[in-house]
Each structure stands twice: as C-alpha cells, then as structure tokens.
C-alpha cells in the first residue's frame, strides 16, 4: 500500500524504515535540503499507508564545470542518481523501478542527454537492477571507494559509472557498449 510523491522536509522524521537499514547512509540535514531546494522534482519518496517512507530517490541535473569543456571527460547536461533506497520489507515490489522511471521522466522534462549513477563494482544486485532498466557501464572509475564492501583485504574498490540515454540522446551517442574497457581515475570525475 504505497503512494509516490515529492519529498517534503518533514519526511526525514519518517525515514527509519529506510535509514535503519545498514546499507542506507544517513546524511546531514543540509544534504537532503540541498536536493529539496535545488531539484525538488528529482527528490521523490514512496510512503506506506502509515506515512512511513519506504523508499526514496535523490537526483540532480548538472553538467561539468565550464573549465573542463574541452576535456575528454567533460559531462554535458545530464541527470544523476545520487541515492536510491528501498526499505527491506518493501523490496521485490518494483518500488525501486518506479522511482527510477519517475526520475527519468523528470530528467526528460529537464531535457538532459542521459542519466548516470555510480555503483560499487562488487554490488552485483544493483548492477543487475540498473541493467534491467536499460543502463550500461560507461566507464570504470578505478579505486573510487576508499574501502572494499566485501573484501576486507582490499583497501579500495572500483566504481562503475552507469548510464542510460534520455530522449534527447536519440542516437545513443552518450552511452557505449564496451564501457567496462574504459578506465578512468577518480580525479577525472567531477
């Protein structure tokens, strides 16, 4: 029994079902308010019949700073998924898919070229989830994360930068099939 709607600041008082899950990070208020203030239509929640938030997605639209305009790593106007979480009890119901699709619709409204996101290379579930939604690896950011999620012997982990073309990129010029072959360093990512 759920309802999808925009985030409101007092939703943070109903975040426990999502944020007590060890896989979901809780940030400072400033972080949530920044998304709410700058990109309100890209911060969507899913609430249950008691008003508890059982899923949310935070996104933004941006491009790389102009100073990097001629860099090969320059990112044109695009949307980005910053956080996506679904409470354990609400998983396997397609809530995540609906949230991503709603963000994609908003990204099209903002006339973006593509949607991108970062995911740990060891997070097979998330990678499969995004692939099913049409995302593909665009590049591998070496040693992007400071620690490895599953291997305590490693002190870093790669990130997959995954992308999906939005309507504006009708020719799919901003995605590639062999993204896993393209490695970049964290300093190339802005």
């Amino acid at each position: 029994m759920t309802t999808f709607r925009r985030f409101r600041p007092d939703d943070v008082n109903k975040f426990s079902k999502c944020n007590l899950d060890p896989l979901t990070e809780t940030y400072e208020l400033n972080f949530y308010l920044q998304y709410h203030a700058k990109w309100p239509s890209l911060f969507q929640v899913c609430e249950d019949s008691e008003g508890n938030i059982v899923g949310y997605i935070m996104g933004k639209v941006e491009s790389s700073p102009d100073a990097y305009k001629f860099s090969e790593h320059y990112l044109p106007w695009h949307a980005h998924i910053t956080a996506l979480t679904v409470a354990p009890e609400a998983r396997r119901q397609g809530i995540g898919k609906i949230l991503v699709e709603q963000l994609e619709a908003a990204a099209d409204t903002h006339n973006t070229w593509f949607m991108d996101l970062f995911v740990r290379s060891s997070n097979a579930k998330a990678i499969a989830f995004y692939k099913e939604l049409g995302y593909s690896v665009f590049r591998v950011v070496k040693d992007y994360y400071g620690e490895h999620a599953t291997d305590p012997d490693k002190d870093s982990e790669d990130a997959f930068d995954m992308r999906k073309s939005m309507k504006r990129d009708a020719k799919h010029e901003h995605v590639r099939a062999d993204g896993e072959e393209h490695e970049v360093h964290p300093e190339d990512v802005w």
């Binding site: 029994m1 709607r5 409101r8 809780t26 400033n30 249950d48």
Partner: protein, 953 residues
C-alpha cells in the same frame, strides 16, 4: 554561530590581507587606521573596528556592536556593502539573533536603497536578511503586522501571478511562434504550484474555479504533463470544501489517464488516490449510486493494464478490498455456519490468497482485519491462514505463512472485540470461552506462546532454506514470542511504572530470547529497537547503548529517533553519557551535533538555493521545517538530559542561559514531539496500547514535560551556580544577586503551575512528584525571601513544608517492594533507577533550598534585629526538619547503590538469577539458551559502577 572569516574586498593591499587572514589583529588595526587616513575610504574604518572586536580586551570587544547601533540610531547609511559584511561577521554571537531586524537588517536596506542599481548589494542584502529571518528587511517593507497590509500584499501577489498565468494562456491561444516578445509566464511546475498556493490563499472561490478549469493549469492537464503534486493540492482543497463530486471526477480522470498509445499510465495508481476516490464515492453513495459501479469498473480496467508493476498491482488489489469495506454492505455477519459469508471477508481472503507471501501483507491488511467481526477475524487467524500454510511445500513459504497466521492470532488476542460480558457480567474470551480478568486472555496468550515456541524449535531443527529462514522468519517469530511474554507482564502490572517481580521475570525472558536472536542477526532494526527499550526499562543502559550504536541513528534522523534511546537515560545510566568519557562523549555528540549543525543560522542556508532555483514550494517548506526543528521536543530533551548528567556527576559545563536550546525557548514556545515509531513491530490491535508504548520508561517528551524539565534545570542552576574563580565580587553585588534570585524565583513560580496543570499521563509519577516539589520549593523560597511577620502567610508556609514532606515520602515509597534482601529486591531496585534518580533530584533540591532559606534567615536576623523579617522559630525548625529528611533520604539512596554493588558483583548473583528466571511454567523457557545472561549482568554491573560516581549532595 561559527562563521568563517570573510575575504577582504578587492584592492586591499597584500600586507593587510595577510595580517587579517592570520588573525594578527594589532597589525590589522594599525594598517587599517593608516589606510583610512590616506584613502578616506569608509571601509578601512570598519575594518579597524572589526579588528578591535577580535581582541580579548572587554572594552574593545563590543566596538563593532556599538558602531552598528550608532549607525542605526543616527539613521546614517553604510554604503559599502562589503563593510556591512565585515560588521556582520564581527558582531556574530554578540548581537542577539532576534535583534538583527533592528540592527544589521535596516543597515543593509539603507545600503540597497542608496545604490538601487547595485545588484550585488541587493542580492547580499536579501540573502543575509533571509538567513536571519528578517522578512521585513528582506522585502524592504515595514513588518506585515496589520491585516490590511497582509491583504494588500496578498492581492498584489495574486495580481502578479495571475497576469503571468494569463500570459501563458494567451500565448497558447494565439500562435506562439508569431507572438512578439512574451511577458513573464507561468511555466514550470514550481510556478504552477505557487499559482495554486496564492490563488487558494488570497483568491475567491470563483478565482479557484477559474484556475481548475484553465486549459493549461487545470489539475488534469498538469497531471498529463507528469505533475502529480498539482492534483494532490486540488484534491486536498476539494476535500476540505466537501466537494466530493469534484474529488471523484478528478481522481477518476487521473486514474483512467492513458498514454499516447492508449495504454493506462498507472501514474495515479497510488493508494492515496484510491482512498480519495473511494471516500468521495462513499459520500456520494446516496446522491449518485452509480459512483460505486464506476469505481469497480475502474479497478477492473486498471488490473488489466499492460504497464503493471507488482507495487501497482498490490495497490489496486487492496483498493478493491477497501472499496468493498467502504462501499459494500456493512450489516452482514462475516461468518455463517463456520464459512465466510460477507462480501468483505471473501474479498479480503481473495487478497490474502494472492499476497500472503509478501512481507508487507500483514501490515497491509491489519486495519481491515480489525474491522471484521470477532468470528470473521478468528476464522482468518485459526482456520484460513493455518490451512494456507499447510498447502505450501516450500519450506520458506510455509514458514512465512505460518508466521503470518500466528501474527494474525496475536492481533485477534489483543483485540477488545474478543472479550464480552456474559449474563453474570463476567468478562469472557470469545476465543477460548474462559473467564478473563483483563483485556488480554492469559490462557490464549500462553497457548499462542506455546504454539510459537513449538514452531521456533522445529525451525531450529529443520535443514531447508536455513539462511533465509534465519534472517527473515526467526527475528519476527522471536519478537512474537517475546510479545506474548510481555503482554503477560503488562496485564499483571497495570501501573506500568514500577514492575513487580513476576513482570520483571517476563521482561528478562523476552530480553534474553531477543538478545539471542540479535546475536544471529546483528543490526536487525526491529529486534534492536525493542531490545533497546527492554534494556533501558530493566536498568541495563550499557547493553542498550551497544545495540543502539550498531543501528547507526545519527545526524538527520536523531530528531525523530533519539528519544527512543536518550529520553530519561540520564536517570537510568547517568555515567554512560558522561562527556568526560570517550563513549559517553560519542553518544552525546550523536544527540547534540545535529542541532548545532542544522540550526547555526536563524534560517538554513539552503533557503537561498531554493530562491535561486525558483523552488517556491521549498521556499515555503524549508522555513516551516527549520522552525519545527528549533522547537523540537527532542532538542529540548537533549538539553535536559545533558544538564541532569552534569549535575548528577558533578561535571558542570557552560551556563544554562547561554545555551540556545534554553534561551530560544520561552513559556509560549510549543515544543513538539516527533518520534518515529514506524520501525517498531506494530502488531497489537489498535484497541490496546502499542507494545512500544508499554515498553518505554514513560510518556514521550511532551511540551509540558520539556518545559518543566528546563524550569527545573533553571532552579538547580540558581542554587548551585558558582562564579568563576577569576570573578571578583564588587561592593553591592550581593544586592544584585538578591534581586536576581528574587526575580528568577518569581518567574519560575509563575511558570511551573502553568505546565503542571494538565493530565498526569504526560510524565511518570516520580517526575510529576519531582516537578511539584521544585514548584513548591520556588513558592516556599519566594515567601521566605521577603518574609514579613505582620502578613498572614505562616499557614501557607506550613502547608508548603507539609506538602514537601509528603511528596518526599511518596517518592520514597515508590522504590522498593520487598524489604528482605533477595534476588527480587535486587532486580526491582535495578529496574527502579529512574525512580531513584528522581528521588535523588528531589532530595537534593529540597536540601539546597532548605540550606539557602536557613542561611538567608540567619542573614535577615543579623540585618534586622527586630526579628520582623526573620522566620518564626517553629517554621525555621520545620525547614530544618525538611533538610534533615532530605539528608536522610540521600543517605538511604547511597546505601541502596552500595547494596546493589554488593549484590550484583557477588558470585552467586548469576546462578541465583538464572534459577529465578527459569522458575514457573512458561513455554519460552525451553528455547532460552541463557547465552545472553552474562551480557545482561555485565551491563547491570557497569550501571551500578556508574551510579557510584553520582554526587548525592
């Protein structure tokens, strides 16, 4: 407010820049003075003043403040906006936040008016005024205090935005390409929401009707552009107005909306939307009977959509059940001849049969099951669901269905519907037909507990799908068994405040089982939350803190979850939160840093982002949230807890008055309670209290309790305040002290009764006694300060001292149940730490107040030899008796802690406890491993050790 040092403006030479950045203030003063003389630039004069304000010398510290006030009073203008920035920085923390609107705000407005074309000055003025929440200066208007002015600005806003809306409509009507340069139009979703807000607030009903029938701005047109928020605004407005046909039609249009391919979009298929259309149809049932058919056809049509997702399907299936419950016949019996007969029960069974494997199935249908009659609910719980579990061959599915059946049985047993009075007026249980003594049938609960324990044992022994069952079934099953035990505890102990030994035994058993489960499922949120409450309730704060730390409640969610762990923790385990210790410091930092970080400025910095991005709904939403956070009960609680710990451990920190959590609150501030219990298992029927409310130590931090706690802290500070060693009292300062004490007591005497009046269920009994004691002490001290034998207040004083004695005795009587040393006595005392802490605070307050009165009386005797202003001997002796009683109580308290130490560290404590826990018949015993018992004992020992640090006098 810790604000970064600003950058000096362009053109300032490097030498001065670096001196400023290095904080080399004497050099900055010298150089700025020099530059001011040479350049005649006002900026350098202000730079010099700001540098002077950074010196430790008290005579120069307020140079910037004085300069600001001087300019405000002179009516002069500081044209250089960067000079104002410097002054704003230099006066941070020195000018009260509330004074901004009378100081820097007007100075900023004057600067903007002096240079109307300077966009930089205007923008900085707007930003600063918004962040200081000085709206009058931000708008460059006088405050909108009168209704006339509010109406004027409302009308202006409406006219402006309606003009922009018309421009958009006209552009659409005419051929857009051929139109000349368009005027400002309403385009974005945020602008449309603003349009709705303004027309709804300031417009007439006719204006609103015009808006919703607009070819561009009507909710349905907006919905087709993917803008659902506008629809929800319109529905909310129609519902408030009772315009049900409008709600019905709008929901119907949105739910049946199709995409370009003619496929249903399902975008509106939220449960909220379904509830709206069903509610509207129920209101229209009499006038428009066809509305029910429309809803049913719509449901059938949507179920066949090709865009279906499991979540939407669940919503639609559930909406179908909701529709039957709301729109179908309401006078049918749910069961006839042992078989489902009502449409609603049959429809509910249809839903359950489809969705019973979903982990959310129970919470989805819980309220609907509760609406059934007792026979219908009993059929589901004891007949239908157990049979469904038998059908499944898959181990996990069978186990989860069996768990669902047991949860439904538990729901039934906690429902008041299952109890009735027979012809002899005896309360009977409809489930087992036996006579019961309370709302809950102990026979049935024991049987359910037995059935769950059998299930638990069989799962432990089984081999199939073990990891999944261990992770998803066992924690909930353990909680269910624990809840049966806890219900037995609470039904025996109606007072809920101090637990009797038998109730304590049930709590310990539940705790041990859940701790065993948590060892298998570390960080499980439901287990962790229930266990945190249980450990605190039993006086085991250290283990509670370990569990709490693992679930990572921090930052933004501390406001809504913090009270679950921290509320009254200072009364259970004061040393646990000592900031002199790294663990305590870490725990207190988790609680307090959120408010420091989020409320640095009067308004949050992100409001500026909202303005810059044109996010008008955020412009409205952010200030509302920040104001509610500022007046949050958790924030007030964080102060009360911190202060009590400091007092109990004798670790004073800064003055209460300088704490924003104290000085931003006055008696009229409504401190709001926001606790997120959403992650607790909510399995009790709504006809009885939820388990998390039974388990907590007392009611949450209400407005009254928070105010009373802060007033009590102010009282303690008044009597225990010691001037810093460096402070030298001047002649006559004792007179000022006297005035300060008199006025503070008068203020407290005035405030206490305001918050003491109200229902008793907003605080624990010991808290109520404690607050009443302090209120009485304020009255007593006020009367004694300016005592005049000629006035007739002696009786009042006698009555007050008598009331204080009774209050003390009352609090003492709430602590122990058994006089003889025994395991029961030890456990009762361990579970009574809250009562002991409140008694300690009351006795210390009485002792301090009595000492103060007697010392004041001695001074009065010496000052006024006539004896007219000193207390009569009999009264003075009564106050001495009060002091003696308090001292005796203090000694008693210290003796209890010493006794607890001896008992808990003794070698036979663990075997005695183990034997005691396993006494009596109870199914749960067979699955207790006792592996968690040493952890509990360690936690108690640590707690008692911490209590040995408490200062009693």
């Amino acid at each position: 407010m810790n604000r970064q040092r600003p950058r000096l403006k362009n053109g300032v030479d490097l030498q001065l820049q670096s001196a400023f950045q290095d904080g080399n203030w004497p050099v900055v003063i010298r150089l700025a003075e020099k530059r001011a003389k040479i350049s005649n630039d006002q900026y350098y004069e202000f730079l010099k003043i700001c540098a002077e304000s950074q010196l430790d010398d008290p005579s120069t510290k307020f140079a910037a403040v004085a300069a600001v006030w001087k300019h405000v009073k002179d009516g002069s203008t500081i044209k250089d906006v960067e000079a104002i920035e410097l002054m704003e920085w230099a006066t941070t923390n020195l000018i009260d936040a509330d004074d901004f609107a009378e100081t820097l705000g007007p100075l900023r407005v004057r600067a903007v008016k002096a240079s109307p074309k300077d966009k930089f000055a205007a923008t900085r003025c707007l930003e600063s005024c918004l962040l200081h929440w000085d709206l009058a200066s931000a708008q460059q208007t006088s405050p909108l205090t009168t209704p006339d002015k509010r109406k004027l600005y409302g009308t202006l806003a409406q006219k402006q935005i309606e003009r922009a809306a018309q421009a958009a409509e006209q552009a659409q009507d005419s051929n857009e390409a051929s139109s000349k340069a368009p005027s400002r139009r309403v385009k974005t979703e945020e602008e449309v929401l603003l349009l709705y807000d303004i027309v709804e607030t300031h417009g007439t009903p006719e204006d609103f009707r015009k808006l919703i029938s607009s070819s561009i701005f009507s909710p349905v047109v907006q919905f087709r552009r993917g803008r659902k928020e506008v629809v929800m605004r319109a529905i909310a407005k129609f519902s408030r107005d009772g315009d049900w046909p409008a709600v019905f039609n709008l929901c119907n249009d949105c739910l049946s909306d199709c995409d370009a391919d003619g496929q249903l979009t399902l975008l509106a298929s939220d449960i909220a939307m379904w509830r709206h259309i069903i509610t509207a149809a129920s209101h229209m049932k009499e006038t428009n009977p066809d509305s029910t058919n429309v809803v049913q056809k719509l449901l059938a049509k949507l179920l066949s959509s090709s865009h279906m997702r499991p979540m939407y399907r669940r919503n639609i299936l559930l909406a179908r059940v909701l529709a039957v419950f709301s729109l179908g016949p309401s006078d049918e019996s749910d069961l006839t001849d042992g078989q489902p007969s009502s449409l609603r029960l049959r429809e509910l069974i249809r839903y359950i049969d489809d969705q019973y494997t979903s982990p959310a199935c129970f919470s989805d249908v819980k309220s609907l099951m509760e609406s059934l009659d007792a026979a219908g609910l009993k059929y589901l719980a004891f007949d239908h669901l157990p049979k469904l579990a038998e059908v499944d061959s898959n181990d996990f599915k069978a186990a989860s269905t069996r768990l669902l059946a047991h949860k439904t049985q538990y729901l039934l047993l906690t429902h008041r519907k299952t109890k009735y009075r027979d012809q002899n007026q005896q309360l009977k249980c409809t489930v087992c037909d036996s006579t019961v003594e309370s709302t809950l049938c102990q026979t049935c609960l024991s049987q359910l507990s037995q059935a769950c324990v059998t299930f638990y044992s069989s799962v432990i022994k089984s081999e199939g799908e073990k990891p999944k069952i261990n992770a998803e079934i066992m924690p909930e099953l353990a909680i269910l068994i624990a809840f049966c035990s806890l219900n037995l505890a609470f039904s025996e102990d109606q007072a809920r405040q101090s637990l009797k030994p038998q109730a304590t035994r049930h709590l310990i058993r539940a705790l041990l089982l859940l701790d065993d489960q948590l060892a298998q499922n570390s960080g499980h949120s439901q287990l962790s939350l229930v266990l945190t409450q249980l450990h605190i309730r039993l006086g085991s704060g250290a283990r509670a803190s370990d569990i709490w730390d693992v679930i990572g409640v921090k930052r933004t969610i501390i406001d809504s979850l913090g009270p679950i762990f921290y509320d009254r923790l200072s009364t259970i385990s004061p040393a646990l939160l000592s900031t002199y210790d790294s663990w305590g410091s870490h725990l207190m930092d988790l609680l307090q840093s959120h408010y420091v970080n989020s409320l640095k400025l009067r308004m949050h910095q992100r409001l500026i982002d909202a303005f810059e991005s044109g996010s008008y709904s955020s412009v409205v939403g952010i200030p509302q949230y920040i104001e509610s956070l500022r007046s949050s009960g958790t924030r007030a609680m964080s102060l009360a807890e911190a202060r009590r710990i400091e007092r109990l451990l004798g670790q004073p920190s800064r003055e209460l008055e300088s704490d924003p959590r104290f000085n931003e609150v006055n008696d009229d501030t409504d401190l709001t309670q926001t606790i997120d219990y959403g992650s607790f298992p909510s399995w009790n029927s709504r006809t009885v209290q939820p388990m998390h409310l039974n388990l907590r130590l007392g009611p949450g931090p209400s407005n009254r309790r928070c105010h009373l706690s802060m007033l009590a802290e102010a009282f303690h500070e008044l009597l225990t305040y010691k001037s810093p060693a460096s402070y030298k009292a001047s002649a006559g300062s004792s007179e000022y002290d006297h005035v300060f004490i008199t006025e503070t007591l008068a203020r407290l005497s005035n405030s206490f009764p305001r918050f003491l009046a109200g229902p008793d269920d907003e605080m624990t009994q010991p808290e109520l006694c404690y607050f009443e004691t302090i209120s009485l002490l304020c009255t007593l001290m006020s009367l004694c300060i300016d005592f005049d034998r000629s006035s007739d207040i002696t009786d009042a004083l006698h009555q007050t001292t008598d009331a204080l004695s009774s209050s003390l005795e009352n609090q003492q009587s709430q602590i122990l149940h058994s006089e003889k040393p025994s395991i029961e006595r030890t456990l009762t005392m361990l579970g009574s730490m809250h009562n002991i802490a409140m008694l300690r605070d009351s006795t210390v307050a009485i002792k301090l107040a009595a000492q103060w009165i007697l010392s004041h009386n001695e001074k009065e005797k010496a000052r006024d030899r006539s004896g007219k202003s000193s207390l009569p001997k009999e009264l003075a002796s009564k106050i001495k008796d009060l002091q003696t009683a308090a001292e005796k109580s203090i000694k008693e308290g210290q003796a209890w802690i010493a006794e607890l130490k001896t008992e808990t560290v003794s070698r036979d404590f663990e075997p005695k406890l183990k034997k005691w826990v396993l006494e009596d018949e109870d199914a749960i015993k067979s699955i207790l491993t006792m592996d968690s018992l040493p952890g509990l004992i360690d936690s108690w020992q640590l707690n008692v050790k911490g209590w040995l640090q408490v200062k009693w006098a």
